[in-house]
């Protein structure tokens, strides 16, 4: 099995998948499809962990992958879609900038990241490619958070960013001790729950999840 597959290219392929799902956020209009994109993003991440686990042969990576799969592919997406249903959010995600422009900006961001990271000397566990992709995912999801109005899209953007951070950490250190990963998962789960509750509260208070309304809070 181990000899049949070229793991280096498999890992590269999976990380490109992560990048693509992140970019796809820029062009998606429906919240449901955003959640689906997140599902795929997390799925690719899980597969990446599994493949690294196969390469390194370390058992605790399997566990991390399993945890990743359960939390990010099922618990969180289901929780968010539940909130979306509860709030009866309209389908559109209402970006500030048009889809095409945001795609262009994402491209520019990726270019910057690639050129910036190509020069330095980085000690990476995986290929340099993975690090570049992970930083790009972080920046793109940050941009997604900037360009979207709805509180719920912010949450999804944050989740993408977390995936990017996870990938970056994974690529630099070849995976952290299990206890830290457990902590991170727990943190994220809590974060999502809290943000979800906040979104509902915002909806109740301002009768919209439009974050523009928050400027009214300023004294």
């Amino acid at each position: 099995m181990r000899d049949l597959i070229d793991f280096a290219s498999l890992i590269d392929f999976l990380s490109v998948g992560i990048l693509l799902t992140a970019i796809s956020m820029n062009s998606l209009k429906r919240l449901e499809s955003c959640i689906k994109a997140y599902f795929f993003n997390s799925l690719f991440l899980t597969l990446l962990i599994v493949s690294v686990a196969v390469v390194k042969g370390e058992s605790h990576f399997y566990f991390a992958a399993l945890l990743n799969f359960i939390v990010k592919c099922f618990v969180i997406p289901l929780f968010i879609s539940n909130i979306v249903k509860k709030m009866q959010v309209t389908h559109d995600v209402e970006p500030f900038v048009s889809n095409s422009l945001s795609l262009v900006i994402s491209g520019i961001l990726i270019a910057i990241v690639y050129s910036a990271i190509s020069k330095g000397v980085y000690v990476t566990g995986l290929s340099k490619n993975v690090l570049q992709i992970s930083v790009a995912v972080i920046l793109i999801s940050l941009f997604v958070m900037i360009s979207r109005r709805k509180a719920i899209t912010q949450v999804i953007g944050l989740l993408f960013m977390e995936n990017g951070l996870f990938l970056a950490g994974f690529s630099l250190t070849y995976g952290m001790p299990l206890i830290i990963e457990l902590g991170v998962f727990f943190d994220m789960l809590m974060g999502v729950i809290i943000l979800g509750v906040f979104a509902i509260q915002i909806k109740r208070l301002f009768s919209t999840t439009d974050l523009d309304q928050l400027t009214k809070l300023k004294g």
Partner: protein, 655 residues
């Protein structure tokens, strides 16, 4: 066996958690914690080195704690007051809303001060410093009304301006020494060029001066301290502002060592300004807690007079004098924490019983709350530096140090030191006026309003806490030599001079001697003597009770008494250049200009510093912030884009 540092801290954490369920028990545990820190402080003072406690935070930064003589001294000061205030809080917080949450914050606030004192590197110092600031902010705004939230805002802003300067000075220090440890700073401080040293020193004066309430950085103090619950005011005025002094001692005297000759003069000048203007503001206050808060500024000024003297003498290598001067400052730090804590507790008991801090509504309380009155009187005598109580001893030492300042070589010092001596004398005299007013108007005479009807002595725990501090005031006053001996290690470490002037029963230095024991003994013996003699010669006096003399009008009431405002009116007129009083008389006439239906008199004073320095400064900052307001639009997306832009720029520069 000295308790371990982490175990003592753990006691406070346990106390904090317990206070969520059983507030009273939590204070008892805090007392145990403070006591173990007290023991630790004593063992540190007696020159036994303590181990360093290092907690790895990240590969680059550790949290490291440890102690030396200097921190040992400050530990004792904090612990002593904390023990009393925790005891007081058991009774005081019973009627407080959210008392569980209050106990939680309070129990964490105390160890944060210990943390500041015991930090031995930048990171742990700054973390503890910020924890202390934030927790004390919560305590200031605890009463949760408009006034307290405004006070809290002013406090938060001022204290963070101070923190900014502190961070800047630490960055400078670590840039020049390539380290973040205080011990390395100290070892390598000679390599720092003098101009940089000067900048670091000025930053330390500003940064820590804000916390200590040195004029002109005192603006927050009289606003925030009176707003907090009284037990918190006691801790804040008694010991929290001393952490600012600790910072100045640590940076100015310990780490930087000898700088330029004007450092000492600058500190002396700031001390004189704070002392005189602080007490001049205090004497004008009607609000008893604000009066006490302003008097804290005055006492910080007196401490600075000692500290500045020590710096000046150290620069001219007059080590014995420097030791004397620093001893004066240290003793006043200890004394002030004791009597200011006592006075704030007294004010708290008054507030508790009468629901007002306004002296114009009080009067005659000595009959309804005799124990509180007794303790407040002891505190007032001590803070006025009257023999044989503790305030006198430290002011006496300060006087002696200042008089010796006339011997310092440069003529500028000779010319300005009489001013410092005179300003200390002026401070003492006005302080006496202020506390005659505070005690006399509040406790004596006829009640001025119905607020005093329910006056009653506080609960046993509160009263015993006040009695405890009263006894300490007396003990520190009568046996100063035993306590001053304790400071000899830190004083020697900081100045290189030793305290060779102590003899049994009295303090004898080159320029004078004092034995408060003899004075106290003489006072007591003379009183007994007078009593016996007059009884034996003239018999027991016959006493009749009658009304006060009322010039024959038979309706002497409380409105004919001198009020708090009237009491200090002569001072207001005499020092009108400082106070710049505004006077407003509104008369409404019923018919023509002959029959007056009502008359309203209003008066106000414009504090000198506030009018000419602070207000223009605040206006400037307000204007600048108004222009920068657009950066803070409140839009989440905008904030996120700041982050994105920063990241991208960093990446581009990294290329």
């Amino acid at each position: 066996m000295v308790m371990d540092l982490s175990e003592s801290t753990l006691l406070f954490v346990i106390a904090a958690l317990i206070s969520l369920f059983l507030p009273s028990l939590a204070y008892l545990i805090s007392i145990a914690g403070a006591f173990s820190f007290f023991v630790l402080g004593l063992s540190l003072l007696s020159n036994s080195a303590s181990g360093n406690y290092i907690f790895k935070l990240t590969p680059f930064f550790d949290l490291s704690f440890g102690g030396d003589n200097i921190s040992g001294f400050f530990l004792i000061v904090i612990s002593l007051l904390t023990i009393a205030v925790c005891l007081y809080s058991i009774g005081y917080t019973k009627s407080l809303k959210n008392k569980r949450f209050f106990g939680f914050i309070f129990s964490l606030f105390i160890p944060s001060m210990y943390g500041v004192i015991l930090s031995t590197n930048i990171i742990s110092f700054l973390i503890c410093w910020e924890t202390m600031s934030v927790l004390s902010y919560f305590l200031v705004v605890f009463e949760n009304n408009e006034k307290s939230s405004k006070a809290g805002l002013i406090y938060a802003v001022m204290t963070h301006i101070g923190t900014a300067f502190i961070i800047a000075l630490f960055l400078l220090l670590s840039y020049y020494t390539k380290s973040s440890d205080f011990s390395v700073f100290k070892a390598l401080s000679n390599n720092i060029p003098l101009p940089i040293k000067n900048i670091i020193f000025i930053f330390a004066l500003i940064g820590f001066g804000v916390k200590a309430g040195i004029m002109p950085f005192h603006y927050w103090l009289p606003i925030a301290h009176p707003t907090a619950p009284s037990n918190v005011s006691a801790i804040m005025s008694g010991v929290m502002i001393k952490t600012g002094i600790y910072g100045i001692v640590r940076i100015g005297l310990d780490i930087l060592g000898v700088g330029a000759y004007w450092w000492g003069i600058l500190v002396l000048a700031l001390g004189a300004i704070s002392a005189v203007l602080g007490i001049m503001q205090a004497v004008m206050e009607k609000d008893i807690k604000r009066l006490l808060a302003y008097s804290s500024i005055e006492n910080i000024g007196i401490i600075l007079l000692g500290l500045g003297g020590a710096m000046l003498f150290k620069f001219y290598s007059m080590n014995a004098l420097a030791a004397l001067s620093l001893t004066a400052a240290f003793y006043h730090i200890l004394n002030h924490s004791v009597f200011k804590g006592l006075l704030f507790m007294g004010a708290g008991s008054i507030l508790h019983a009468t629901h007002t801090k306004n002296m114009e509504l009080l009067g005659g309380l000595i009959k309804k709350m005799p124990m509180t009155a007794f303790c407040f009187l002891i505190g007032a005598i001590s803070i006025c530096a009257l023999p044989p109580f503790n305030g006198f001893v430290s002011e006496w030492l300060t006087y002696q140090a200042l008089i010796s300042g006339f011997n310092a070589p440069p003529s500028i010092v000779k010319i300005i030191s009489p001013i410092f001596g005179a300003s200390l004398a002026l401070t003492g005299a006005i302080a006496a006026t202020a506390f005659v007013k505070a005690f006399g108007i509040t406790f004596l005479g006829l009640p001025r309003s119905s607020n005093t009807d329910h006056g009653h002595d506080a609960s046993p725990t509160m009263t015993s806490a006040m009695l405890f501090l009263s006894v300490i005031c007396l003990v520190l006053g009568i046996f100063p030599n035993y306590f001053i001996t304790l400071f000899s290690y830190p004083v020697f470490n900081l100045t290189g001079g030793s305290l060779s002037f102590l003899t049994r029963g009295s303090i004898t230095i080159a320029a004078g001697s004092l034995s408060t024991q003899a004075i106290a003994l003489s006072l007591i013996m003379t009183i007994i003597f007078i009593l016996l003699l007059s009884r034996s010669f003239f018999g027991k006096p016959k006493i009749e009770h009658g009304d006060s003399w009322d010039c024959g009008i038979f309706t002497l009431d409380s409105r004919m008494q001198y009020t708090a405002t009237a009491f200090i009116k002569p001072l207001k007129i005499i020092f009108k250049r400082v106070y710049m009083p505004k006077r407003e008389v509104k008369i409404t006439y019923s018919v023509d200009k002959l029959f007056v239906s009502s008359m309203r008199y209003g008066g106000d004073i414009a504090p000198f510093l506030t009018k000419y320095i602070l207000s223009p400064m605040f206006n400037f900052i307000n204007n600048v912030s108004d222009r920068l307001k657009f950066l803070q639009s409140g839009s989440l997306q905008l904030y996120l884009s700041y982050i994105l832009i920063t990241l991208v720029v960093l990446l581009i520069f990294g290329m």
